[in-house]
């Protein structure tokens, strides 16, 4: 059966744990001199990136290469995609190239879902619009487990632009699946209408939540949110929702500070906090490679995928 990783909800607790356990072994590979496994020899992984994201693309590329897959980078800029080729035509092109997996980053929410309806290989969502970024949530969970030894029962506070954040969506969903207790904190303007259906607590007050947090995850705040009046200005945002040394002092002793990057130092996170011993920001990058190796291995390493779910929402039967 064809399977994909499009949403954190494509995983259940067992398969998510399998990813994390597998990533643990993959992480050991990073400590060796020969950082390569023959496992995906002869498999082709296409990185289809409609948005610039050197960080995520490089992470997937390294993960695939460490597993000996052939990697094709297909970026929207300078390709037929920028000349108006439709997503479906691009999908059929990748299909013809024999892609076993397509790693898709797209500015439109749901684009990887559509892609999954058109390609034979597995589709991995590498971030779609303001929807989801499941491998980021997996690497965040992996980082928490490595630092704190568990995920179940952890109180995880996610602070920032929840409305537009695919990282927040995937993290809330995955943390719930893994038995943690997420809380999202943001000004009300940056929380989506309908958030009451999410498996998370919601707060406007970071100072009330920090003392009860094992993990605090800060999200990047973009300047255009200010110009669109989501908040008055960066100074006020930083004062009300930024993580500085004073706020860090309110955290329990062993709490950690996370950030998916790229950071706005001095806005959502103070430099001294980002560089402190509590910060896992550099580890998150390294863990990203391990987790993506695990995902690629579990999707492509065998006769059929061990994780993921069939494409959701395949439409009416008349479409081939």
């Amino acid at each position: 059966m064809k399977r994909h990783l499009l949403s954190a909800t494509d995983l259940d607790r067992e398969s998510a744990t399998l990813v994390l356990d597998t990533a643990e072994e993959m992480a050991r590979l990073g400590e060796r001199s020969i950082k390569k496994l023959p496992t995906l020899r002869g498999r082709t992984v296409v990185n289809l990136f409609y948005e610039d994201s050197t960080r995520t693309r490089t992470s997937f590329e390294l993960a695939a290469k460490r597993l000996s897959a052939d990697v094709i980078n297909f970026s929207a800029k300078g390709s037929s995609v920028s000349k108006g080729e439709s997503l479906k035509d691009t999908a059929l092109t990748l299909e013809a190239m024999g892609a076993d997996a397509v790693v898709c980053r797209h500015s439109g929410s749901g684009a990887p879902h559509r892609l999954a309806q058109w390609v034979k290989g597995s589709v991995v969502n590498a971030g779609d619009g303001t929807h989801e970024h499941p491998t980021q949530a997996l690497l965040d969970a992996f980082t928490m487990r490595r630092r704190l030894g568990r995920i179940e029962g952890l109180r995880v506070t996610i602070v920032g632009d929840i409305l537009h954040s695919r990282v927040a969506r995937s993290n809330v969903l995955l943390l719930d699946i893994l038995g943690a207790h997420p809380t999202v904190v943001a000004p009300p303007t940056l929380l989506p209408v309908g958030i009451e259906a999410w498996p998370t607590e919601v707060s406007y007050d970071i100072d009330a939540v920090l003392p009860k947090s094992d993990v605090v995850m800060m999200l990047r705040v973009q300047n255009e949110r200010m110009t669109a009046s989501y908040f008055p200005n960066v100074r006020e945002y930083s004062r009300r929702y930024g993580l500085d040394a004073r706020r860090v002092a309110a955290l329990p002793d062993d709490a950690i500070v996370m950030h998916p990057g790229p950071m706005n130092r001095g806005v959502e996170i103070a430099a001294e906090v980002a560089d402190s011993a509590r910060s896992t920001i550099v580890e998150q990058v390294a863990n990203g490679v391990s987790v993506r190796m695990a995902v690629l291995y579990l999707l492509l390493g065998g006769s059929e995928p061990a994780i993921g779910s069939p494409a959701a929402g395949s439409t009416e039967g008349e479409r081939p």
Partner: protein, 429 residues
């Protein structure tokens, strides 16, 4: 011209009679009429006869997007759907904002001959929302435009809306407003709520529709004008229209078939077949819209038939075009949602799909009683002939129907335009 005898049909679902059509006019109605020189169409005592359906809201796409639909293909689809008249929306290329364009569309419709085409004139030049188009010239043209709309865009400037409402009083026109506050819906992709929050699609709040409707009702009342509100989609909009009517204001409203049956959950497929403007809403909204159509708060069902070529839909949701086709499925959806549920009888369907629409559009020959001396614009419906929607079998040039594979409970078997059959046995005549 061939004369016709429609044998054993039930006008508005009532008693079985024969109807004789002579010279395009209903000449005789009664039980067991003699055959005479007429061609005979056998109703078999089960067919319901309705006045030919009238659509207040059709996108025929010509001129400009003939790859999506033409007047010829769109009006043939309309005839197959039981329509004898459609209002062709103004958002063509070029925009129907001058007499020349509306006359072109009117002529194309007349030449095609499938149904009457009543062009809708743009309210503002180029749908730009800044300057009034030549509304009077369009009204006086051979197209006799009475409905004006920037549909697809909202006349959001309150001053311009007031002027338009006032100006068209001179020729008994009506402004059909696409109620969508542009600032509240920047980048909007679907109804704002629990589903949009989950799917990460930018939300389209109900208030963006309701605020404009409330404002326009107040404006129409203030200047004593006629207002028509396109495609109501929320329970809140229904409440505002209900209140306006209770005050005696001259406000009418339409609902699309798809807003009577489909809900926002379908967006979870990310299949842009379900991407439409206004967006699909919640089950509670659907319920409120059905109630409002039943009690007359909503005057008409209008299709908002919006054909798009495959490439505009076979892409990701955010890049895809808004809209769905509807002419050939409207009657079936109304039968499913309103007749089968007991909310409307066939007389009610005749009112909401023909009589009221013709009245709002000021079409003298349409939406008339089935009576001797009236123009023979008629639709025969088999109320028990369930059929399954098949994209390949639809007449529209575009295939973006949301109902592919769906079974509908009733079908149009014949359409007569001024006594001439355009559809017989469910096929183009």
């Amino acid at each position: 011209m061939t004369d016709w005898l429609l044998r054993q049909v039930r006008p508005l679902g009532g008693d079985v009679v024969d109807i004789r059509i002579v010279g395009g006019v209903i000449a005789e109605i009664g039980p067991s009429l003699p055959e005479g020189d007429c061609s005979v169409y056998e109703g078999g005592s089960s067919l319901v006869a309705l006045p030919g359906l009238v659509d207040l809201h059709t996108h025929l796409r010509e001129p400009g997007r003939e790859d999506a639909e033409t007047v010829e293909t769109g009006t043939r689809a309309a005839a197959l759907g039981g329509y004898t008249a459609v209002h062709a929306m103004a958002n063509t290329t070029p925009v129907a904002d001058v007499a020349g364009v509306v006359e072109q569309v009117w002529r194309l419709g007349r030449d095609a001959g499938w149904c009457d085409v009543a062009p809708v004139g743009a309210v503002t030049v180029g749908l730009g929302g800044e300057h009034l188009a030549e509304l009077g010239a369009m009204a006086e043209s051979i197209a006799r435009v009475r409905v004006f709309s920037d549909d697809g865009k909202c006349v959001s400037d309150p001053v311009l809306m007031r002027r338009a409402l006032e100006y068209v009083k001179a020729f008994d026109g009506v402004i059909a407003q696409h109620a969508q506050d542009p600032r509240l819906t920047e980048g909007a992709q679907m109804n704002e709520g629990v589903v949009s929050a989950r799917l990460g699609l930018a939300g389209w709040p109900a208030v963006a529709e309701e605020a404009i409707i409330a404002r326009d009702c107040l404006l129409a009342a203030h200047v004593g004008s006629r207002l028509h509100v396109c495609h109501l989609s929320t329970a809140g909009s229904v409440e505002i229209i209900r209140a306006a009517k209770a005050k005696g204001w001259d406000v009418t409203a339409e609902v699309t078939p798809h807003h009577l049956v489909l809900t926002e959950d379908l967006a979870a497929t990310y299949d842009p077949t379900y991407k439409v403007n206004p967006p699909l809403r919640t089950a509670a909204d659907v319920e409120a819209l059905r109630d409002a159509l039943a009690d007359g708060t909503i005057d008409v069902v209008a299709t908002d038939h919006a054909p798009h070529p495959v490439e505009d839909k076979e892409t990701d949701w955010t890049a895809a075009a808004f809209g769905m086709t509807g002419l050939e499925t409207a009657l079936g959806i109304v039968a499913e949602t309103m007749v089968a549920t007991g909310r409307l009888d066939w007389a009610g369907v005749a009112d909401r799909m023909s009589i009221a629409a013709a009245r709002i559009g000021r079409l003298a020959d349409h939406g008339r009683p089935i009576a001797v001396g009236e123009p023979a614009n008629l639709t025969l419906i088999d109320p028990d002939a369930a059929w399954t929607v098949d994209r390949a079998q639809l007449a529209s040039r575009s295939t973006n129907t949301p109902y592919a594979g769906r079974s509908l409970p009733a079908r149009v078997v014949a359409t007569f335009l001024r006594g001439r059959p355009t559809v017989l046995d469910g096929k183009p005549a």
